[in-house]
Structure formats: C-alpha cells, structure tokens
Amino acid sequence: MDESIAFFLSIFPRLLAAVPLTLALTAISGVVGNALAVPVALARLSPNPFLWIPSAIYILLMRGTPLLVQTYLIYYGLGEVLPGSFIQQTFLWEYLKDGFWYAVFAFSLNTAGYTGEILRGAMSAVPKGEIEAAKAYGMSKWLILWRVTLPRAIQICLPAMSGETILLLKATSLASLITVWDVMGTARQIQKESYRIYEPLLAAGVIYIVTVFILTRLLNFVERRINQHRAAPVSA
C-alpha cells in the first residue's frame, strides 16, 4: 500500500508536464471552434436554403455522431489522403506528422457544430426591438451583427458556452487515442511501462478535477464580468 502511494505521488511531475498540452488542445480548439460557430449559426438562421440546409446537416452530423468516430475519420482519413499529395512538399507537412493538429481539427469542427446550435438559439432570442432600433439608426446589416446581435447573443448563451468549454476540456482526452501525449495519453503510457492500472488513472483524474475546477471558476468570473450590468441587486 505504501509503495503504491509512493508510486502514485512519483508520477505527478510527468503528468503535470502534460497539462500544457491538454490546455493547448482545449484553448486552440475552443477559439477556432467558437469562431467557426458564428458562420454556422448565421447560415442556419438564413432564409436561403443553400445556406441553412448545409448548416443544418453539418450540425446534425457533428452532434449525431460520436466525437471519437469524427477524430478517427479525420486522423486516419486525412492520413490516407495527405501523403503523396502536394501538402507533403509544403511546410505544413512538418506539423501534420503529429496527431496534435488532427485532434485540434476534429475538436474545432465538433465544437463549431455544438456551439453553432447554441448560438443559433441565442441569436433568435435577441429582442427584436434592439435590432429595429439599430436599423433605425441606419446601421448596415453587418454592423448590426457586429454591434448588436452577436454581443447580445453571446451574453445570452454564455453559461451554455462555458459548459461546452468544460465538456471540450474533458473531450480532449480522446486525443490520447491518436498518439497525442496529453494528460490522459501520458497516464496510459505510464500504465504500459509500469504495468500498474490504477495509480496513473487516479493521478490523471486528480489533475483533471483540479483543472476543471480552476477553469469553471475562471469562466464564472468572465461570465460575471460580461453580464455585470445584469447582475441581481445585492439586496432585493
């Protein structure tokens, strides 16, 4: 038992060294995915069938199939197509040998689908009067989007979006299955080297719980800052 605890403690430095990779996966996929969610939501709300039908199918595909299948499809599928293509001659190839960018690609596309659907709901919940007021001021369509619809929609769906970010952080553990040595991947590597099942998983679990806790606090803080003006009065 003592020896098991000693081993459990001894692997923390190695697992902690993988935390930046897990955070990088989450941050890059989160930023790219949320940015892509805007055109997805806009297309979904468009009256033009050439826009809303592809967008609806995209959202359905991302939400209707497991992320692990999407990740394999991108990793192995692109791995089948890219070698031998012109990409191999470019500087991009250096990056594409590693699973990391395939994981980022898969997680970003997936996040765009989920957040796109959330954003669509929030955009249609922006009060009509605010958009009419912006029109009355003579703002162009894009200026209204940039100054009114998008900021208001983000305020509305911020809690849902931070929930998605936590889910994304947890989902990045799937990258370990395509040879990315994130926290989960490192834990599995230690498992294989040491023939111990529990200690690496438990230690990785502790790290994930602490990371999720810190990220939740951080997102709550951002939410409060952005929705400051809507905070409930201190004494009702």
Binding site: G64, T65, Y72, G77, M184, A187, G205, V212, F213
Partner: protein, 241 residues
C-alpha cells in the same frame, strides 16, 4: 477506380463475408450496450436524485460528491477506471461474504455497462432532481392531505408528472449514451460499430470510407432515436398546450 479493384460499395456488402453484415452485428452490440447502460443510469439517477432531495445530510453529501466527481472527469478516464476497478471492488466486497465468492468472474459486458451506467447516472441524477423539483409542491401536499402513502405519492403524483419535465433531459442522455458507447471499442473486448469500423479500415486500408460508414451507422441510430423521442414527447405532453 479501375475495373480490376473491387468497388468500395461492394466491400460494404451485406452478404456473409461483406463488412456490411459485420457492421450490422456491431450495431446490435452498440444498441445492447447503450440500452443496458441507459437502464443502469436510470437506477443511479433515481437513487442519486432521491439522495440529493433527502432530508439526511450524509446522503446529500454522497450524492453531491458523486455528481461533482463524475462530471469533472473525462468519460474515457472514468470508463477505464470503473471498468478495471469496478470488478475488483465487487470481488472485494463479496470476499466478506465468504471465500466462495473470492474467485468469481465479472463478465466484461457487465463491467463495461456498469461503468457507462455509473457515468450516465451522474448526469441523470441532475435531470431527475430538476424534474422532481418542478412539480408544484402544492400537489404533493394535497396528496399527503388525501392520506396517500409515500410510495403511492411517487407512483401517482411524482412519476407521471416528473416524466414530462424530465423527458427533454432524458432524451439528450439517451443520445449521449449511444455516442458514449463507442468508447467501449477502446477496451478491445467488444465488437461494437466503431470496433468493426476500425477493423474494416485497418484490414482494407480504406480509412475514410469505413470511418464514414461508421459515422453513418451512428447517425442512423441518432435519427431513429430522434423520431421515437418526438413521439414520446407528444405522448407525455398530451393534455398540455
């Protein structure tokens, strides 16, 4: 595609040795695992929600710990942890009952389904707690005033009304259960859709084709589920609107 190589679609044939037939076998495994894991998560969810709403503080603390921990950990990590340790934990508990139980074999299917159900149960707990709390307290008081026993109250007042509030959340969790079931392919001892896709892809080297097929099978499962959910929603909401 030149004429000498077989077309991709013929690889997916549903005859004896075509991959199509094996994908169907995989679909059956996926559905079995999802349905059983979902049933287990309903049990954990009901227990968890009752504990969260119970007057005993110790029960509330345990239930809070359960939902907080499970929802903060990646599903893959939890699955591996519960899959391997669940069997050992049960053996350990059974060993107190006598030596006869010490070398009992835990079926891997039961371990995997138990692990997935345990994970889903934490989310189910929150859905059910919310649903129970949305029932107007006046109705429960009225039932008490009519002299109904606690069990009768659950059966006649709480369960039928709770279903209406819980259904959207429960439907989402069912869709998640079908998707999360794909994680069991990692354990190596289950031939679910993703496992079949993995094998088909690595045998034939047609990765994009077979992973697309895998995605299509999951999509079909989602679409059928969504159609059933729509019918169920119409049914539990009859009398409203």
């Amino acid at each position: 595609m030149d004429a000498s190589s077989p077309s991709l679609l013929s690889l997916m044939s549903f005859s004896q040795d075509g991959w199509g037939a094996r994908f169907i076998e995989g679909l059956v495994v996926t559905v079995q695992v999802s349905v059983t894991a979902y049933a287990v998560s309903l049990i954990f969810g009901l227990l968890g929600a009752s504990a969260k709403l119970s007057p005993y503080k110790s029960l509330r603390v345990i239930a809070d710990g359960y939902t907080t921990l499970v929802r903060a950990l990646p599903e893959l990590l939890l699955l591996l942890l519960v899959f391997y340790s669940g069997a050992d934990a049960i053996k350990f508990l059974l060993s107190f009952l006598g030596d006869d139980y010490a070398d009992i074999e835990i079926d891997p299917f039961a371990a995997a389904v138990g692990a997935l159900g345990f994970i889903g149960g934490a989310y189910m707990t929150e859905v059910m707690r919310g649903a129970i709390q949305s029932i107007p307290p006046g109705q429960i008081e009225a039932a008490k005033a009519c002299g109904m026993s606690p069990l009768l109250r659950v059966r006649r007042i709480i369960l039928p009304q709770m279903l209406r509030f819980a259904l959207p959340g429960m439907s989402n969790l069912w869709l998640n259960a079908t998707k999360d079931s794909s994680l069991i392919s990692v354990l190596g001892s289950f031939q679910d859709i993703l496992f079949m896709g993995y094998r088909a892809a690595s045998t034939t080297k047609h990765y994009s084709f077979f992973y697309s097929m895998t995605a299509l099978f999951f999509l079909a499962l989602t679409l059928v589920s969504m159609a059933v959910i729509r019918l169920l929603e119409a049914r539990v909401n009859r009398g409203y609107k």
